[in-house]
Symmetry: C2
Subunit: 235 residues, 2 copies
Amino acid sequence: MAKAKRTLKWQRDPEGMRLRILEAAKQEFSAHGLAGARVDRIAAKAGANKRMLYYHVGNKDELYLAVLEGAYDKIRSEERGLDLEHLDPPEAIRRLIEFTWNYFLRNPEFLSLLQTENLARAKHLKRSTKVKSMHSPFVEMIRTVVLRGVDSGDFQVAVDPVQLYISIAGLCFFYLSNSATLSVIFGRDLLAKDAKDERLSHMVGLVLAALTGRSTALFEIAKAPKSRSAVAQTV
Amino acid sequence: MAKAKRTLKWQRDPEGMRLRILEAAKQEFSAHGLAGARVDRIAAKAGANKRMLYYHVGNKDELYLAVLEGAYDKIRSEERGLDLEHLDPPEAIRRLIEFTWNYFLRNPEFLSLLQTENLARAKHLKRSTKVKSMHSPFVEMIRTVVLRGVDSGDFQVAVDPVQLYISIAGLCFFYLSNSATLSVIFGRDLLAKDAKDERLSHMVGLVLAALTGRSTALFEIAKAPKSRSAVAQTV
DNA sequence: ACAGTATTTATCCAACGAGTTAATTTCTCC
DNA sequence: GGAGAAATTAACTCGTTGGATAAATACTGT
């Protein structure tokens, strides 16, 4: 009864295991928050034993921080590929909005993780050294677009890039991360396809109209989604 | 040693006790989330015994829902006092933004509670009957302002009031509820007095510029906060 | 094939936390 | 001044959970 096991039972793959653990942890933390997350569930989901988490990553807190850092790393790295430098400024802003919106849609766990971490007043993130460094290039990228827009006459004001980004992210984030409660209180399904399309138009219209000072951009958009009651569209 | 106690030891005040419990629960839930909240801590904070919570309100979940409903009730009721009907449309919108911003600033627990509830995908809120009913008047209030603005020629587009409110709330909410992580990643203290003033200007400028299509409103604002680096202001 | 190391499993446990039981104290009204 | 109801307390139960221990199993180089 001992010899039979000649096939590899474990396929020993520390790196793969580490990744599966982090992925499982991401799911768990985003679904239940830090306090609500269960170490056992993470282990189960990763197809591992609980002890493995401690072996490969660390205790619950370290696990959580690793997930968080990974999440920031991923979005900032995708943003670097946006290549806003080669677009004319209004188009660059539109593209940034669309990317942010779609990224948030594709990565709902990222939103949850941020919410969780903010609930904890960034207690854990403050301990991270990696995260702080990855943001200045991003801010500079936006600043450049804004300044080019002002030079070209497309934009009316040299907006603070940080304010602008926070606004863009906020318009996307709040809608999506709070869609559950908003859908309940306003009695609409905000995650329906139509609603999402309408939202994207609204946001692009709002930001571009404000930046360019012409409502042209806004009306272009306003034509697109033909829906609802007669009153009220876009912006 | 028995007679001495002639002063009332409890002053039996069921209604007051209920309120103290709900207040303590609000603090606890907003500080730690649903899973992180500790029933014993709530009791202690309310100056009560744990059994009292169950006696006066119910179990942890019912307690949580009661807090949540109370929070919505409070903000919507303050909003009813805004009296937007008597202001000209742009002024009304400015006032709505300023109210929302200040309310969020004054009631950070409200933000946390919403975050927590959204993390739970509104599971609890869905069970509430009270909350759903209190929002249509609010939406109508905004719709009226928008339509008046279109009629008067102040606004370019008849924005969907729900979209507009979500945008306003989102601009305020994201900045404040995520200020912890944002401050870390951007290396600025977003809760400093200056930063908050700048943010309010930015938001008012952004929304009004988009609605009116004139950047006038935006520049009026832009003059106010004389600060930072040369590059970048307002909007 | 054997020693040494890296990886994984199977159990255990002490602490904690939500919720309960039952006794105790205050109030009310007759 | 006492019976019954309302409010409060103290002590206990019991499942859960993060983390720890130690033994087993696979892999590596020699």
